[in-house]
Symmetry: C2
């Protein structure tokens, strides 16, 4: 802080106008890039702005225009590569359309999500993209609409909300992979998810609050029923949230005489832990255990055996969500759209017929 360089006084349009010898309105026009000004004046004002090191105040601008050029994004966990990709998609699309992104992490906690949305709205973001933690609690989401802002749901649909949504074809994908496993001869197939219920037991689909996972479980159970397996429910395992919880869950699964011959992991974090656990337990893959996971995380291609996955177009999911939101912000008025992006089964080496 030696030199008093550009003193810390804030330079405003008024200052620039004064130096340029024009009115505040005129200076504002060239600085804000609107209205009409003569070339001569434009140059003079720009010179004055540069001389004074003028920096526009977007806050003030937003204040009068009512638009902030910002979209709020609420995801479960940015550390999860799934959301990492999605956010990248969102932010690339946003940037190319001139929008900024305010990011909030909910940690899959509705209360945090609620608070985040509240402050985002208070900060006057133009619209929001959220991956709602629980399909059942929607009051705060409705609040967004009430505040006059657009909302796009990412990866997790809540039809009752009637808002634009982008998801993958979860139910269909789950059904397909379950059928695949059945066709290969598997009868004991477990589905493992981070979602949870108070008593950690799965009873019916409505217990599952994450829409995308609920869809998958429905597909999973439906495919099993179709094949004549009536107790698919007991193969749904909940609460795989931390390495520890996955460990104990796996211990239960593997320790059972009635051990599953195949496991479907609901996300790549779960699959990674299960893979480690199986390996450490000396369970040979794919012969003693087949593994399949949702999300084509980078590592799945590099293990031995490489893991068969349901590839979700995650980046595109984010891109599409941002695109839809921006369309709304530009005034598109249409009934709520639900965009479903196709998944793709990538067969690698982690599936084989059951050994017994």
């Amino acid at each position: 802080m030696k030199e008093a360089q550009s003193k810390n006084v804030i330079v405003t349009v008024a200052d620039v106008a004064r130096l340029a010898g024009v009115s505040k309105a005129t200076a504002a026009r060239v600085l804000g890039g609107y209205g009409t000004v003569s070339d001569k004046v434009r140059l003079e004002v720009k010179a004055a702005a540069k001389a004074l090191d003028y920096r526009p105040n977007e806050l003030a601008r937003s204040m009068t225009t009512g638009r902030s050029g910002t979209i709020g994004v609420v995801v479960g966990d940015i550390e999860n590569p799934f959301f990492g990709s999605a956010v990248r998609g969102i932010s690339d699309m946003a940037r190319s359309a001139g929008f900024n992104v305010v990011l909030a992490n909910s940690g899959e906690d509705v209360d945090v999500e609620r608070a985040a949305i509240k402050t985002l709205v208070a900060k006057r973001v133009d619209g929001l993209i959220v991956s709602p933690a629980r399909a059942g609690e929607t009051e705060h989401l409705k609040e967004i609409g009430r505040s006059g802002r657009s909302l796009v749901l990412l990866d997790r649909a809540i039809p009752a909300l009637g808002v634009d949504t982008v998801t993958a074809d979860d139910r269909q994908a789950a059904e397909a992979v379950t059928r695949l496993l059945l066709a290969r001869g598997h009868r004991r197939i477990a589905y493992v998810t981070a979602c949870d219920t108070p008593d950690h037991l799965y009873r019916e689909a409505s217990d599952i609050h994450t829409a995308s996972v609920r869809e998958r479980i429905e597909g999973f159970i439906h495919a099993g029923r179709d094949a004549g397996i009536s107790d698919m429910e007991r193969w749904v395992r909940l609460g795989a949230t931390t390495p520890d919880s996955i460990r104990s869950l796996a211990a239960d699964l593997f320790g059972n005489v009635d051990m599953p011959s195949a496991i479907i992991a609901s996300d790549s974090l779960i699959a990674l832990e299960l893979f480690k656990l199986a390996r450490d337990s000396g369970i040979a893959m794919p012969d003693a255990l087949s593994l399949l996971t949702f999300h084509d995380a980078t590592w799945t291609a590099v293990t031995t055996p490489p893991v068969t996955v349901v590839r979700q177009p995650v980046y595109e999911l984010g891109e599409a969500a941002a695109r839809m939101l921006i369309e709304r912000l530009k005034g598109v008025d249409a009934p709520p759209r639900h965009l479903v992006l196709p998944t793709e089964l990538i067969e690698r080496g982690s599936i084989a017929p059951p050994s017994r």
Copy 2:
């Protein structure tokens, strides 16, 4: 838009004040939680606010207070798990201190970085955390200080800038792992980084614009020199930015009669590709090739062999950066601090003595 529910008129303090039968100033005091008001009035105002469904306008608040409660974060690529963890650390710390995070992706492009910083400043973020793409171009970073805002550098130091910085002990870590490799008998050790020069050739450290990588290369070369290897430079390979570029780079490396017996990858994305390529080329690891990478990405523990890594405390890096920034925002006035977090070598199975 059937029902005219809460009509889309914006409710302001004035409205609340009117309904509560008090002055605007008083209403603002209870709504904004400052000054002193009688309990009676407080209750009345709150009731009125609820009745009208009042939503504070943070923009207006920021406008008058000069603080936005927001910190800007500019990283290279949020899709890279490294930054994913760091951003999670930042955002957790920020949230617990009552700050929001505006995220911008530079894609490691200085021009984008420049633009991002400009709009972040225009949006009046209270301070910034950035992972500068190039150590050489600092004008836009200095600009942050000139605008009266605090800046914390994340993972990449630029000492000349004289700002708070959080990094890992890159140089020392690189030196240590190179010595380890040398001690195991390796003499042909390659260092592969995404950083690049115009002609893709490494000549001297100053060619490398990413500070953290420059440090590592210096450590790498220094350790080699110490062991009597004079041409370490030729083992530095640049431009490993995409799967394709890594493929051709690897082809060159592996195809050489003088193939390296060990490779140090500068990040986990590179390591992953190299791992795949080596496997697909039938190069046995670790016997025919030792691999070591910076960043303890989750997948490194799960491959065969698992990959030996330099664990950087990435989440903590982000946390610390946010903590330092927030301290500055709270008025801490101290000389620039450079926090160096220790790394840890995690030996797994990807290193063995050279086979020839």
